[in-house]
């Protein structure tokens, strides 16, 4: 077992760095920059049962701490992902992916998750109940603990692989929701998705995003995301993947210390396509300098 190796519900990853859904395409967009097999794993773009065209342009805005996006779950639908994309991905990527599943109804989530669960290349089902950019779906499930638990239980019944639930920080009582999602059969949590926000054009005063609001991500949300992981960790018994604003090796160390077993990096990949190899080098250096044999020794040390 290497210094950086981590284990998520039986899935062994060579390191704790996972690329976050929606920021890593289907893994093939980074091949110009490095061999993507160096990454712990990555989460595929949020996939729905049927294709979706997403929101109108503009979908992206920036702020000093990162980005706002309102992509609106554009994806080609689960059949296309399974039949066209996975076979191509398997030619270049030897690992397993997290399959990010989104939907608008319980039935839709289940059917989509089931199809992805059958695929060899899928290691974990990541249930996205936290997308802020679509109406009547996604985040609606993530705001209410009872809805989230019911959906988790339903998807749990139709998939065999580990099921991780990706939560929204907008949820008024995240600790309670996480506990109930664990009771409903989740094998892990991903904390957190984007924060809801907006920007206005300084000349016209009108929203910069066609969708008006978007999901705020990037280093500017790191302290808040870290706090969510710290807050939930003592109350659950399942692994947490920390996500939100992670941009460098020391952010990864902080997330693990707060209680995360692995991290997801999103926006920083978009801003710096070489981010993953840089972060991995920083983690190796850190472990060597601090005489850490297993990076997993750091998990939750903020609470000790």
């Amino acid at each position: 077992m290497g210094t950086l190796t981590v284990n998520l519900s039986g899935l062994e990853l060579s390191n704790p760095v996972i690329a976050a859904s929606g920021t890593y395409g289907y893994g093939m967009e980074y091949l110009d920059f490095y061999d993507v097999n160096c990454i712990g794993s990555f989460s595929i773009k949020g996939t729905t049962l049927h294709p979706r065209t997403g929101n109108r342009q503009p979908r992206i805005a920036e702020y000093d701490g990162g980005l706002l996006n309102a992509v609106g779950l554009e994806n080609p639908g689960v059949e296309h992902v399974v039949q066209e994309i996975f076979p191509r991905l398997q030619k270049v990527y030897r690992g397993k992916v997290l399959a990010n599943v989104s939907g608008f109804s319980m039935e839709e989530y289940c059917a989509c998750a089931q199809r992805l669960d059958e695929q060899d290349i899928v290691g974990i089902i990541e249930l996205n109940i936290s997308c802020p950019n679509v109406h009547g779906g996604g985040m609606a499930f993530g705001m209410d603990a009872a809805c989230a638990a019911e959906l988790t239980a339903a998807v749990r019944r139709c998939v065999k692989k580990p099921l991780y639930v990706k939560c929204t920080p907008q949820c008024p009582d995240l600790v309670d929701l996480c506990r109930r999602v664990e009771d409903a059969g989740a094998d892990g949590l991903v904390l957190v998705n984007t924060f809801l926000g907006m920007r206005l054009d300084r000349h016209t005063g009108k929203p910069l995003l066609a969708n008006v609001t978007g999901g705020v991500s990037g280093s500017g949300i790191f302290p808040q995301a870290l706090y969510r992981v710290y807050q939930v960790y003592p109350h659950v018994h399942i692994p947490i993947i920390g996500c939100g604003g992670v941009s460098c090796g020391s952010d990864v160390i902080e997330m693990l210390s707060a209680g995360a077993s692995a991290v997801e990096i999103g926006t920083q990949n978009l801003l710096d396509p070489m981010c993953v190899p840089k972060v991995l080098r920083e983690l190796e250096d850190y472990c060597r300098e601090e005489h850490i044999q297993h990076i997993t020794d750091l998990i939750g040390r903020a609470h000790q």
Partner: protein, 244 residues
């Protein structure tokens, strides 16, 4: 696509609020006309996409208009280095042209057409350009084009003629074309012309290399990322109502 740190060689005004920037870039030779580079701006999270105006084996030249903080910062840099993501996008497909090519540009959308004209000449095509600007002061590339074996026509809104109107006046509606400029101009030339054509689109970008779907637009039969599948699309793929 590649990340490069490029030394600034030159950056001078060429028209009101418009500058031409040349950087040293070792891999510049891999460029295709109509491609763009993404330029990092210190203190800004997103890189700014700029079309390649022209290139040599080891230089890249851009022509840009100051419209906000990023391009304003850029206009004030005269030495030092810039971080560039180069080789972005598909570029114009000149192999689709056999004899004639018409290059149409509107305003700063003319930026990629100089290199495109040069490439088209190198391929033995007969090159015509139709370039539209707000007024004669804003006109670009007059000197450069006068040294090339091309027929270049300029038109100006201030003199009462836009690109689509000039296209009809010149009777060039049957010439296969490449076009770049604001959406209303692109739509107008596509409505005026009957010929096959390629148009270059713009979109707000996140990554610039295909990973985020931030720049996706809806085409007739598919979703396409302007940064990776584009920015150049065949006119018959475009549904203007989806874009405007």
């Amino acid at each position: 696509m590649e990340l490069h740190t490029c030394a600034i060689l030159d950056n001078h005004p060429v028209a009101p609020e418009t500058y031409q920037l040349t950087v040293h870039c070792a891999a510049a030779s891999q460029t295709r006309c109509g491609q763009f580079a993404d330029i990092a701006i210190p203190g800004k999270k997103l890189r700014r996409p700029l079309s390649i105006t022209d290139w040599t084996d080891n230089t890249l030249t851009f022509t840009y208009r100051v419209v906000g903080e990023g391009t304003d910062w850029l206009s004030r840099q005269h030495q030092g280095e810039l971080e560039l993501l180069t080789g972005c996008g598909n570029g114009f497909d000149l192999t689709a042209f056999s004899r004639d090519i018409l290059l149409m540009g509107g305003g700063i959308g003319c930026a990629p057409l100089l290199g495109t004209a040069r490439q088209a000449l190198a391929q033995g095509l007969a090159v015509k350009l139709l370039l539209g600007f707000g007024n004669p002061e804003q006109a670009l590339f007059q000197k450069e084009l006068s040294g090339l074996d091309v027929e270049a026509v300029y038109c100006y809104d201030s003199l009462g003629e836009n690109v689509a109107q000039a296209l009809v006046r010149l009777g060039w509606q049957d010439l296969p074309f490449c076009a770049c400029g604001p959406l209303p101009m692109l739509r107008a030339v596509c409505q005026a012309s009957q010929a096959p054509g390629q148009v270059s689109l713009e979109a707000r970008m996140g990554c610039g290399f295909g990973a985020c779907m931030g720049c996706s637009v809806q085409l007739k039969e598919r979703m396409a990322r302007v940064c990776k599948d584009g920015p150049v699309f065949h006119r018959k793929e475009i549904v203007w109502e989806h874009l405007l």
